[in-house]
């Protein structure tokens, strides 16, 4: 690889680490640590491997066929099933976007002390302006590099001196004897947060926009494996902080600001500030990803012009879609609904919608007409089918568990 390619790869990976964590990861990883200590550690690598497998697949489809996920969904599953997948993904996207924007406003409020609703309006207008005038690669870099402040949780996790024996045992899959329903609810939430569909939509559409070709398959694989794996370390760090600070002191972290307090405990004021700034960039970056994902899906399904690299006027219906999504998300969070609660619903509903995203990807990645010689190999198919089974089980169990556990409150 040339130095320029290596530099791009390194920058992409840095941005992926910073951009890996969203509000769903923040809420579920910390709450899981605060409730079950290190017992749910094993779920994080399972979720990270799942998103690696399917992102690599969707990136490969984009590179070889030039088609993003929803192009493939529509072509492979027909109009009816495609429409179902579209509606499900748009509902989940909108809920997630609302939660992320609420998270942006909360982070700004913790930094500035200004009223929440004013900051919500500022966040929406600010996002719209940034999306309108800033080139995408700069948006990704700004939020990705800013999100690197989240590494403060990794430093905090080490400094807290966790019980490494218990930490290691947490990687052995098991079912907790103490409140197994709640344990399963958190396991599903963690998987749903790690494998949230918008990441795959965004990733594959980005591949098409970056004009990936067969020559970029190595870059696709490296981005997916290294970026997501290193990003997953942040999830581990959040769970350690949850266990070492909140479980130890009997605290159930129900507010976004509480999570930042987990970094203050070992690192003081600078830890707190870095955590809040990191949360701001992480949820801000995720807002960009989700709003674009929503616009991609609709535009690809209906065959509209789409693209972040086009001037907004060059793809007017695509632009109008993300603007409308922003306004709708604002309409939801301005009611005063708790963004953390919206996050929990969004993650659980996304778990239900997972098969609608991942089944078509697996089908297309095995289609010789699309993929030629680059169809799935044996390993990709074994992992793909295994994860499909996991995803189907999750989809069936998610809502009953949400009801049984009273959205994780029991």
């Amino acid at each position: 690889m040339s130095p320029k390619v290596l530099l791009n790869l390194a920058l992409g990976i840095l941005a992926a680490i910073g951009g890996f964590v969203d509000i769903g990861d923040l809420v579920f990883n910390t709450a899981a640590g605060a409730t079950f200590g290190y017992q749910l550690m094993w779920v994080i690598p399972v979720g990270v491997l799942g998103i690696i497998v399917y992102s690599e697949m969707s990136g490969r489809v984009a590179a070889v066929s030039g088609k993003a996920v929803f192009d493939a969904v529509r072509e492979r599953t027909g109009f009816g099933a495609g429409l179902t997948a579209l509606i499900a993904s748009e509902v989940v996207n909108l809920l997630t976007l609302s939660a992320e924007i609420g998270g942006v406003a909360i982070a700004l409020q913790l930094l500035s002390g200004l009223p929440y609703r004013v900051l919500l309006a500022l966040a929406i207008v600010g996002l719209a302006v940034v999306l309108w005038i800033t080139q995408l690669e700069w948006i990704e870099r700004i939020f990705g590099y800013g999100g690197l402040c989240m590494l403060v949780f990794a430093v905090a996790a080490v400094k807290l001196g966790p019980n490494w024996t218990q930490f290691g045992k947490g990687f052995i899959p098991h079912i907790s004897q103490n409140n197994p329903w709640l344990y399963l609810y958190f396991a599903i939430g963690l998987l749903g947060a790690a494998m949230t569909p918008y990441e795959v939509y965004f990733y594959s559409s980005g591949g098409v926009e970056d004009r990936w070709s067969v020559q970029d398959l190595g870059l696709n694989r490296a981005n997916a494996i290294i970026g997501y794996a290193l990003g997953g370390l942040l999830s581990l760090a959040l769970m350690i902080v949850g266990a070492a600070v909140f479980l130890r002191h009997g605290i159930n972290p129900e507010h976004l600001g509480t999570i930042a307090l987990g970094a203050e405990q070992p690192l003081g004021k600078i830890g707190l500030l870095l955590a809040i700034v990191g949360i701001f960039f992480a949820v801000g970056g995720a807002s960009v990803d989700t709003v674009y994902s929503g616009a991609y899906n609709l535009a690809q399904f209906l065959g509209w012009e789409w693209g972040r690299y086009r001037h907004p006027a060059g793809a007017p219906r695509f632009t109008m879609t993300w603007l409308v999504l922003l306004v709708m998300a604002f309409g939801i969070v301005i009611t005063g609904v708790d963004p953390v609660m919206v996050t929990e619903y969004a993650v659980i509903f996304s778990a239900v919608a997972l098969p609608l995203t991942y089944i078509p990807i697996l089908l297309v990645a095995n289609d010789r007409e699309y993929m030629g010689a680059n169809t799935n190999g044996r390993l990709a198919n074994i992992l793909g089918v295994l994860y499909l089974i996991v995803i189907l089980v999750i989809a069936v169990m998610a809502i009953p568990l949400m009801i049984i556990t009273n959205v994780g409150q029991n």
């Binding site: 930094l111 009997g250 605290i251 600001g257 930042a260």
Partner: protein, 129 residues
Amino acid sequence: MRWVGLFLAMLALTGCNGGTVGRHALTNDAATIDSINCEAWLLSGAVARNRVTTYYAREQAEELAIQAGNFADALAHRPTAAGLEPRVRAKAKDASKLASRLWRLHDRPTDRDGARTLAATFKQAGSCS
């Protein structure tokens, strides 16, 4: 359609904080009030040692105060299972005291001595470790 309606109704009820307070709900609510006390202990301790910003202290104290106040209102007015009323109403008073202490922290986020005193109170009230 009937099943869809039933499902949506169950979904709507999920997470609601209404209805009669039974033993299980009281245990859950008491645990949450202890959790708020312990977070307030960490927060006020951090204020006392000048380890948080003024804005953070004020906003986080407000969030917790609102949450505690909601519990105080709900536990003071919701119907209770037979024999539980005295305990539920006592818990409502605990939540109300917690809320007013948090509002004090919210109003004086730079008062380090006051925060130190409050921290001790929160720790004791929540039996925090």
